[in-house]
Symmetry: C2
Subunit: 504 residues, 2 copies
């Protein structure tokens, strides 16, 4: 509904407001006066058939010339306009679906059609950041029922691109719900199972609240920004890919939600299931294995929580036509030694190449997950699947397959090194009895991961190791002195990340 | 915790970002590079002992000069800096209380000390808008327990200014939870009970989600922006005042919360109780009557909801040392004929002056509420209190007292007139059986209320009236053609605001 509108010319503000379009208008401008706009209201802007909703900031006379409306980068991009183009500015249409969000906040359940309207409006960029934050908070903490999660999943699939794989019966996928720093099994599992001929076109996300997502790690090793046609070609050539899913518009609403989830460091259960499954379904998968690490400081804290989440994944998957198997794994300590995109890539390469000193825990987790995928495919049991996976890793087939995949994606990159390295020392002697995954992950994030690919840390000791006072526990890696200082300050503040029990 | 910092000069952007400070930094600026800042991260800015947290927008080279950091209006105001002053820019301190907000989102209860830390950080402007939205959404919909509401109330009181009234034993107050357009009894009740000698230093808020709050309405009639000393003087002189509470920093966290509540059109129960009672307690009140209108399209929809809310108000009040009496009233239709600040003020004056045609429903509600306050004060029963209230209104005492109050606040203003008036016609003949308060309020808001004082509407027919097709139902009042068109478009869209039942 556009009730009235007035023309202004575009003034490029040169301001990056991320995914929330902002328009900067003079308080004395005719349109502001005649339309009665006030700071922080939402306004509609249209040009040549395209229109967006933007948040209004009132500007002074010096900032925006008379007769112009200043636009932030994303507003210009989404409207497809250039400096001095004419745009019409009007009251934002009333977004009816926001009343459904309020119903949800107040504890009412959403019907599938209602969920679809909300998700469709979000993916059409009609919600402001605070409105998205409200929706996410209302859905987090177990507040989405089964039917709502199914509806959210389907709605997210429906409003984006969907892949299909003509001529392929079964398409395999795997996922880890995260919360465990360094648990980078995906590149290993994809290499192993596709070496055996299973089709596994893996699209991964970037980190939400962790120091690295699989896409971040793979980007340290090769090009992951593949378009749909490139993905089809890579999968045709190799039976697999290791790409970033975000470039493909597979679940555009999810991408918008994830940015606010990240700002809030919030990752709700129903939201998580819908986010993961919508991308799998949109990617055309038919079978998926999901790794759920369980530990006091992992994302999932108790076996009971893991069971509930597993049953949600399996049942929502079934309702959406996707066969899901969940596996609860040890989430009590980090996996491998590297944390952060580049350092995790280093561990992955070491396992694939069978290097001495390659992290055994990472290797055995990958073999176990690959074993489950083989069992899903041929029903010969997990044990036989694991033997097969072990063999493909040992005889170099998986490493060869990984090289084929990265070659097809644009060639393998050599890994960089962080500019600043600093050992963090143990403050007392004894045995390490636990590591706080969350605080360790936060150190890696404050050091700059994942935005800085080489930032993060490398563990030099883990749970069960005996350590001596003054011995390094990990090496902190960063690309700016500010981030290094900030991460070290966090390490020194609050509860210890490594719990060391003194010898009796 | 400030881990490191770097100096830049202030560049005034001339942009009003409301209460969320924004800093605009060049992507190539040394500080951005060395600190590893990215768009939408939160950064700390300090100058001469003051410091703020701001949201970062990355700007192009043309927008901000090299060596400068652009600051929005509120950032400049809160830092107390001028163009070209040096500021140091650093990573935002980690706000530990945000992890408590996440615990709340995930369904855990907050302890009093935890609630106090959150509220204290909010009132210190440490939360971004999306973080405040998350907190509000996590608390809305009945998700605050009794102890949490008490803790929230106390925390809001503690982080602001508190009034006391030396030599006065009992301080009276009243409040309406809203949801009923035109229900502007406060100026009447204050005039009546203070005419009888009760002390009633009334501080009111502006509209949250309605077309007018009492402060908006009173501002059409007199100056409401009183400082603490002025309030003391007015109360000393007249026994009462009718001021805006927001200028007094009575509950600064609440003011920050209310802005986001308004953007989200969200007004949760626990939040509501804490917001109302914190301001009463901070204002030094000892006794309060709370009007809870109940109706299908009022804020409170069923008698059961009203009972629950009443019991919450009473028990939380008792826990905080405030005697509260709640009264459920008819919330099925608007009160009076005017909706919007100036039009509601017109109705208030008509009742005080005993004008023919003054809205009888508004008058009788005020008498009833004043009767309850008299009963709270002397225990002689509500009936006798109402007789007393009726007399004070009829004999001109209340009107005289209202004039004394407005005189002491700076003199009475004459009411303005809206620039654009448009009758909205009935589309069929019959009897009006109901009015949708929410949609009617939205029409008044879209017409410009409360930002435009004269905007809103004047009802020409109400529930029970017989109407003929083509007859005007109400007159729409606005100060800009854009707002008029927008309000009319909303009136025409969706379900009818007036339900007219045809004659059989």
């Amino acid at each position: 509904m556009v009730a009235s509108s007035s023309q202004l010319r575009v003034f490029k503000m040169g301001i990056n407001t991320h995914q929330e379009p902002v328009v900067y208008m003079r308080g004395d401008c005719d349109v502001c006066l005649s339309e009665g706009f006030a700071a922080s209201s939402r306004v509609g802007i249209s040009s040549q058939g395209r229109s967006i909703i933007a948040t209004l900031n009132i500007s002074s006379d010096e900032t925006v010339p008379k007769g112009y409306a200043g636009l932030s980068d994303i507003a210009i991009e989404r409207l497809g306009v250039a400096q001095s183009d004419l745009v019409s500015v009007h009251h934002a249409p009333y977004i009816e679906s926001l009343s459904l969000v309020r119903r949800k906040v107040f504890g009412h359940s959403l019907l599938p059609a209602e969920m679809a309207r909300i998700v469709s409006d979000i993916s059409a960029h009609k919600y402001s950041d605070v409105e998205i934050a409200c929706f996410l908070s209302a859905c987090a903490g177990g507040r989405l029922g089964f039917d709502e999660i199914v509806a959210l999943t389907q709605a997210m699939v429906n409003c984006g691109q969907q892949l299909d794989w003509p001529g392929v019966d079964r398409v395999f996928d795997k996922h880890c719900v995260g919360g465990l720093p360094g648990n980078r099994t995906t590149p290993l599992v994809v290499s192993i199972v596709s070496a055996a001929g299973l089709v596994m076109p893996k699209t991964s996300s970037r980190a939400i609240t962790s120091p690295a997502g699989t896409a971040d790690t793979m980007e340290a090793l090769t090009n992951v920004r593949l378009g749909l046609n490139e993905i089809r070609r890579v999968v045709r050539e190799t039976g697999a890919c290791l790409a970033w899913g975000g470039a493909m518009n597979l679940s555009p609403a999810d991408d918008l939600l994830i940015r606010i989830e990240r700002a809030l460091d919030l990752d709700g259960e129903g939201q998580l299931v819908a986010s993961v499954l919508s991308k799998k379904i949109a990617a055309g998968s038919t079978h998926a294995v999901i790794d759920i690490p369980v530990g006091e400081t992992a994302k999932v804290r108790t076996p009971g929580d893991a069971d509930r989440l597993a049953s949600l994944f399996t049942s929502v998957g079934a309702a959406c036509g996707l066969k899901v198997r969940c596996i609860a794994t040890d989430g009590s300590k980090p996996v491998g030694a590297g944390i952060g995109p580049t350092e995790e890539a280093r561990d992955v390469l070491a396992v694939l190449q069978g290097k001495r000193g390659a992290p055994e825990d990472l290797r055995s987790r990958a073999i176990m997950l690959a074993g489950h995928l083989f069992d899903l495919a041929d029903g010969r049991g997990v044990k036989e699947g694991m033997v097969k996976a072990e063999r493909l890793l040992q005889n170099g087939s998986a490493w060869g397959q990984f090289k084929r995949i990265t070659e097809a994606q644009g060639g393998q990159r050599s890994l960089g090194e962080a500019r600043f390295r600093r050992p963090v020392l143990c403050s007392e002697s004894g045995t390490i009895v636990s590591i706080d995954n969350r605080r360790l992950a936060r150190v890696a994030k404050l050091a700059g991961a994942p935005a800085s690919s080489t930032a993060g840390l490398r563990l030099l000791a883990t749970v069960g190791d005996r350590v001596t006072k003054g011995e390094p526990l990990y090496e902190l890696l960063s690309d700016s002195p500010g981030q290094q200082d900030y991460a070290l300050a966090f390490n020194d503040m609050g509860p210890a990340i490594f719990t060391v029990k003194r010898e009796e």
